[in-house]
């Protein structure tokens, strides 16, 4: 392969996902689509909008932040389709953060829920 100084591409195969959260975000989207909670064009519109926003913000968007766009799009389509509410998601994120902080290093994290049963 010749050198390509100014562009981030490489022809090596590399791992499909860089981190487990990327794989989980990807797989949840595929499952929700398979269960017909949204069509693929609807999904592509959400993802393209996130990518366009990143561009607007002037981010270099070299492909390495792709699953961050993906996750933003997934949260939005889940709320837009009424599968979960913005508040529910926000509360659970808080609960996960608190549970993580409350768990000693090396122990499996047990989710402790606030407010709701």
């Amino acid at each position: 392969m010749t050198e390509m100084p100014d562009l981030p591409w490489t022809t090596s195969e590399g791992p499909v996902f860089k981190a487990p959260w990327e794989a989980a975000a990807f797989a949840m989207t595929v499952r929700l689509h398979e269960e017909k909670h949204f069509t693929w064009p609807e999904w592509a519109d959400h993802l393209a909008a996130e990518i366009a926003d990143a561009r607007q913000r002037g981010e270099p968007d070299l492909g390495d932040t792709y699953y961050e766009h993906w996750l933003n799009a997934l949260e939005k389509i889940v709320v837009a389709k009424g599968l979960a509410s913005h508040d529910e998601l926000g509360q659970l994120k808080q609960d996960w953060i608190h549970s993580t902080l409350a768990t000693p290093h090396g122990q499996p994290i047990e989710l402790k829920r606030s407010s709701r049963a």
């Binding site: 390509m4 100014d6 959260w21 693929w40 393209a48 366009a52």
Partner: protein, 187 residues
């Protein structure tokens, strides 16, 4: 945390379950990838009738080999010849034929590739190390959520004696996106 929160919420609501999530991940990490597309290309090189079916109705011909599913519902196969070279992009996001190529490489999803390949395909190809004569027309295909493209690369010279399986070995992912040519086997 954000992914955990989503996963917890969706599974509590019965919308996704974790074993199904694991199955999907395993599928894309181990079973779905460019080897599938390489099998399609090798079949087309070996069997003129199959090639005709493939160019006529890509989705159906690819399904004959058992490759179908999300992002493979509507496939169009574009053939490279001595006078035409095809390159695929998705300018808006990352539409890509998963059943035949797996998930896209990082550069395919990058803004520089998505914008530059449309403006200056010859320049991008040259950065990939592909130099084509001026007489070759370069066609850029913009994938979308409804239609995805697979490039049928030129069969390299000196491969008349190779079996279909040996031919498939020569076919790389990038040659089916159009950012590489298939090299003749080292003799």
């Amino acid at each position: 945390m954000r992914v955990k929160a989503l996963e917890t919420l969706l599974s509590e609501k019965g919308l996704v379950d974790s074993s199904a999530i694991d199955t999907v991940i395993e599928l894309y990490e181990t079973k779905i990838g460019p080897r599938n597309g390489a099998a399609v290309v090798a079949r087309a090189w070996s069997d003129p009738d199959y090639k005709a079916r493939l160019l006529e109705n890509g989705t159906k011909a690819i399904a004959e080999l058992g490759f179908e599913g999300v992002q493979g519902e509507d496939m169009m196969v574009v053939e490279n010849t001595d006078s035409v070279h095809n390159v695929v992009v998705c300018t808006l996001c990352s539409c890509y034929p998963w059943p035949t190529l797996g998930l896209p490489p990082v550069w395919y999803k990058s803004a520089p590739y998505r914008s530059k390949v449309v403006r200056d395909p010859r320049g991008v190809l040259s950065e990939f190390g592909v130099e084509l004569p001026d007489s070759v027309e370069i066609r850029v295909w913009d994938s979308n959520a409804e239609l995805r493209y697979l490039v049928l690369p030129n069969r390299p010279a000196g491969t008349d004696d190779l079996s279909e399986a040996e031919l498939a070995e020569l076919v790389t992912r990038d040659s089916m996106i159009g950012t590489a040519l298939v090299a003749a086997p080292a003799s």
